[in-house]
Symmetry: C2
Subunit: 177 residues, 2 copies
C-alpha cells in the first residue's frame, strides 16, 4: 500500500508556470519518445488521485482519455463529469485520510498522487511514500510550486537517479519510516 | 570568466532551516570523506563572493579559516573583519554588476558565488553561469530558500549528475546563452 508522486518540475521546483504554462516540460527534444518511468508507474499503481485543476487540465488537452487506471478526483466544487468518463472517474470529498480509507476499501491500494495541491496536502500529513521527481533544466522564476510549508521535516531514502536525453534528471526517493 | 553556484540543498530547495540549521547537510554518513566536487570547484575559481550571513556563519564555525582563495564579502553593514583575515577578506558594497566589475578589475575572473541572498540577486540579474546543486534526501518543509522569484525564465544545459554515498544527488548545469 503506497502513495507515489510522479511530477515534472523546474530546477526551482515549479510544476507549472504562473498561468499554468506547461510548455517547458517538453523543451528537451525526446526523439526516442522515452516514457521516463511513466509506464512503469502506471503498471505499479491501482488508481490515480488528483485534484480538480489536474483533472480539468487533462480534459482540456482535447485528447483521448489517457488513463487505463481509475481516476479519483478530489474536489468539493466539481459539478459534472463527462458521460463517457462516468465509469472511469469518481469524485471524492473529505480530508486526505478519509479519502484514502475509502479508496483502499474499494480495493485500490497503490496510488499515483497527482496535482499540486493534492501532493502538498498529502505531504503535510506525511502520506507520501515515494517521490519520483523529474527535473527539466530551466529556472522558471515563478509559477505553481511543488512544495509548500510543512509542519515537520520528512527524511527520504534515495533509490535511484537517471538522466534522460542527457538533460532531464529523474530522482526517486522512498520515505524513511 | 564565470560565476559558479555550489550549494547543498534539501529536496524542497532550502539551503538552511528556518533558524539557519545546517545539521541535515551532514545527515548522510560519508565514511570516505568524499569532497563532492568542492576541491574541483576551489581549483577552478579565483575568488569567492559571499554575503554577510555566510561570512559570519563561517566565522562562527570556530575553525581555521577554510578558504585558500580570496573572499569578497558583499555587505553594507559589516563593520569589522578579524585582523588575521585582513589580507584574505575584502568587504564590497554596490550593486551586483559594479561589484563584479571591481572584482574582475582586480584580476579575479572565475568566482564561486555563495550564500542565499547573493545567489538570488545574481540570478535575478542573470549573472550565474553554472549551478552545481547537491540534494540531500530530506524535505525540510521550511527554511531559507535557494531560489526567489525571477523576472524571466533562465534555461540551463545539464552537464552532469553524480550520486554520492548512494544518497546525495549532485547536478551541474550551465546557463544557455
Amino acid at each position: 500500500m503506497k502513495n507515489i508522486v510522479f511530477l515534472g518540475k523546474s530546477i526551482d521546483n515549479y510544476i507549472a508556470g504562473k498561468n499554468g504554462e506547461l510548455d517547458w516540460l517538453d523543451m528537451i527534444p525526446n526523439p526516442d519518445q522515452l516514457d521516463m518511468g511513466y509506464n512503469t508507474l502506471m503498471n505499479e499503481v491501482d488508481a490515480i488521485l488528483m485534484g480538480k485543476t489536474s483533472f480539468e487540465t487533462v480534459l482540456g488537452f482535447d485528447i483521448e482519455w489517457p488513463y487505463q487506471k481509475h481516476v479519483f478526483v478530489l474536489s468539493r466544487s466539481l459539478k459534472n463529469i463527462p458521460v463517457k468518463l462516468q465509469d472511469k472517474v469518481s469524485v471524492l470529498q473529505g480530508n486526505e485520510k478519509e479519502i484514502l480509507k475509502s479508496i483502499h476499501n474499494k480495493g485500490y491500494l497503490n496510488l499515483y498522487i497527482d496535482g499540486g495541491k493534492v501532493v502538498q496536502n498529502f505531504l503535510k500529513q506525511d502520506l507520501i511514500d515515494e517521490l519520483r521527481l523529474t527535473t527539466i533544466p530551466i529556472v522558471l522564476g515563478e509559477g505553481i510550486p511543488l512544495f509548500d510549508v510543512l509542519p515537520k521535516r520528512l527524511e527520504f531514502e534515495h533509490v535511484k537517479t537517471e538522466v534522460f536525453c542527457n538533460q532531464i534528471v529523474q530522482s526517486c526517493y522512498k520515505r524513511k519510516r
